[in-house]
Amino acid sequence: MLKNRIIPCLDVKNGRVVKGINFVDLKDAGDPVEQAKIYSDGGADEICFLDITASNENRDTIYDVVEKTSKKCFVPLTVGGGVRSVEDINKLLNCGADKVSINTAAVQNSEVVVESSKKFGSQCIVVAIDAKKNGNKWEIFTHGGRNNTGIDAIEFAKKMEDSGAGELLVTSMDRDGTQVGYDIDLMSKISSKVNIPIIASGGVGNLDHLVDGIKLGNASAVLAASIFHYGKHSVKEAKEYLDSKGIPVRI
C-alpha cells in the first residue's frame, strides 16, 4: 500500500535555514545540510528546501547547499524558490535535487512547466501554488507571497496538471506560519479537481493538523516546518501518531 508522506520543509536564505511567520520576521535556525541529514535519519520521507527570498536575491548559495545535502541524504530532495527557467531547473537537478518546485515562473509562463516536464520528466516537476482566500475563491500569489495575481487557484491547479506537473505543493497564505492548521477546504477542492498528488502546506501547529490534511484534505503528503524545526515534535513522533489514527505511513 502506498504510504502518505511526511515532508519537513527547510526555508533557506543565503544558505541558512530560517522560518518566517507569514513570510516576514525571519529567524536564523541552523545549517541546512545538517538539518536535512537529521530529518532523513529520523525517517522523513522526503526533504524540501525552499529558497524563500530567492526571487530577489543572489541565489547561488542554494546550489552549494543542494550539492552537499544530496551527498548525505538518500531520500528525495525537492528544491524550490526563485526557479525561473528550464536552465535553473537543469542546474538544480545537476546539483542533486530530485524534484524542483516552480512557483512564480509557472504562473507567469506555463510553458516553463510544459517544456521542463518534457525535458526532465513530470516526476521532477512540482508546481508550488501559494493561494489566499478572497471571498469564496482562492487567488494565486507569486514572488514569495508578495504579489496577488487574481488567478483562481483551483483552475490554475488543473492547468498545471495539464501542463505536465507531477505534483502540486499547495500552500495557504492565510495559514502559513499561524499554526492553526491547513486550509482543508482549499486542499480538498484542489485534490478533487486534479488526478496528480498534492502536498498540503501552510499552517501546521500540531499533529492533528497532519491527520486532517490527509484525511479531510485528501493530500498525498503533508509538509511542515516549525513543528519539526523547533523540536516540538520529531518526524518519528508524527509518524507514530498518524499510524495510530489509521493513516498508512512508512515506519
Binding site: 528525495p76 537537478l93 542533486g96 496528480i196 498528488p197
Partner: protein, 208 residues
C-alpha cells in the same frame, strides 16, 4: 572493479551517482560515461532512466553504437546490468508512453500506463510503497519482505514471462517492481532514493 553508470542524457542521474559512490567508497571504481569501450570493458553497468520511455530510447539511440554496446554487454557477454525506473522499462519490446516505441527487447513484454481506475488513484504513483518479494533475487540479499521503497512512475512493465518477476508492489493493481533474468536486473523503484534499504540493494549489485 569498475561499475559504469551510463550517462546518455536521460535526465537527472546525480542521485544515482551519489548513491553508488556512497556505497562503493574506495573499494569500487564508479565511472559515469557513454564511452562505448569503457562500457564494454566494465564489470557491471547501471542503466538509469528518467522522463518518458520514448525520450530515454531516443537518447540511447542518439549515441551511435550505444545500444549495440549495451546489448553485447548484457545479452552476449552476460555481464551484470541493473536498470532503474525507465532503465528497467526499456528492457521491454515496446513502450506506449507518448507513442508506441520499440524498446531494447531484452525481456519480452510491454510498458503501459498504470490503470488508475477512472481517477480513483492518483498518478504518478509517487512515494514509499512496500515490495512483495516473489522470488529470490541476488539484489535482495538481506532485504526483508515488505520493505519500503521510493517510487515515482505512471507506467508499468508487464513482462510476458512472469518468472522474471522478483518483486511486485500493490497500488491500483499489482505492479511489477523488480525483475531478474539471468544477469539482467531491474527495479521500477529508486534504490538511490530509498534510504538505507535502497543503498543495501545497490551494495548487493556492486558485490555480485
Amino acid at each position: 572493479m569498475n561499475v559504469t553508470i551510463v550517462d546518455y542524457n536521460s535526465g537527472n542521474i546525480s542521485s544515482v551517482i551519489n548513491s553508488f559512490k556512497e556505497v562503493a567508497k574506495d573499494k569500487v571504481n564508479i565511472e559515469i560515461t557513454s564511452d562505448l569501450n569503457k562500457i564494454k570493458s566494465s564489470d557491471k553497468v547501471v542503466l538509469p532512466g528518467q522522463g518518458s520511455f520514448k525520450s530515454c530510447i531516443d537518447a540511447l539511440n542518439n549515441i551511435s553504437g550505444l545500444v549495440d554496446a549495451l546489448s553485447e554487454f548484457a545479452m552476449n557477454n552476460k555481464k551484470p546490468l541493473l536498470g532503474i525506473c525507465v532503465g528497467l522499462q526499456m528492457f521491454a519490446d515496446f513502450g506506449y508512453e507518448e507513442t508506441k516505441t520499440k524498446g531494447l527487447g531484452w525481456v519480452p513484454g510491454k510498458v503501459s500506463k498504470i490503470d488508475n481506475q477512472n481517477g480513483k488513484y492518483k498518478l504518478p504513483h509517487i512515494g514509499w510503497n512496500q515490495i512483495n518479494i516473489v522470488k529470490e533475487s541476488k539484489i535482495f540479499k538481506g532485504i526483508e519482505n515488505n520493505s519500503h521503497m521510493y517510487f515515482v512512475h505512471s507506467y508499468e512493465f508487464v513482462p510476458e514471462d512472469k518468472n522474471v518477476v522478483s518483486a511486485t508492489t500493490d497500488y491500483s493493481s499489482n505492479i511489477v517492481c523488480s525483475v531478474e533474468k539471468e544477469n539482467i536486473f531491474g527495479t521500477q523503484f529508486h534504490p538511490e532514493k530509498s534510504d538505507k534499504t535502497g543503498l543495501k540493494i545497490i551494495d548487493n549489485f556492486i558485490s555480485l
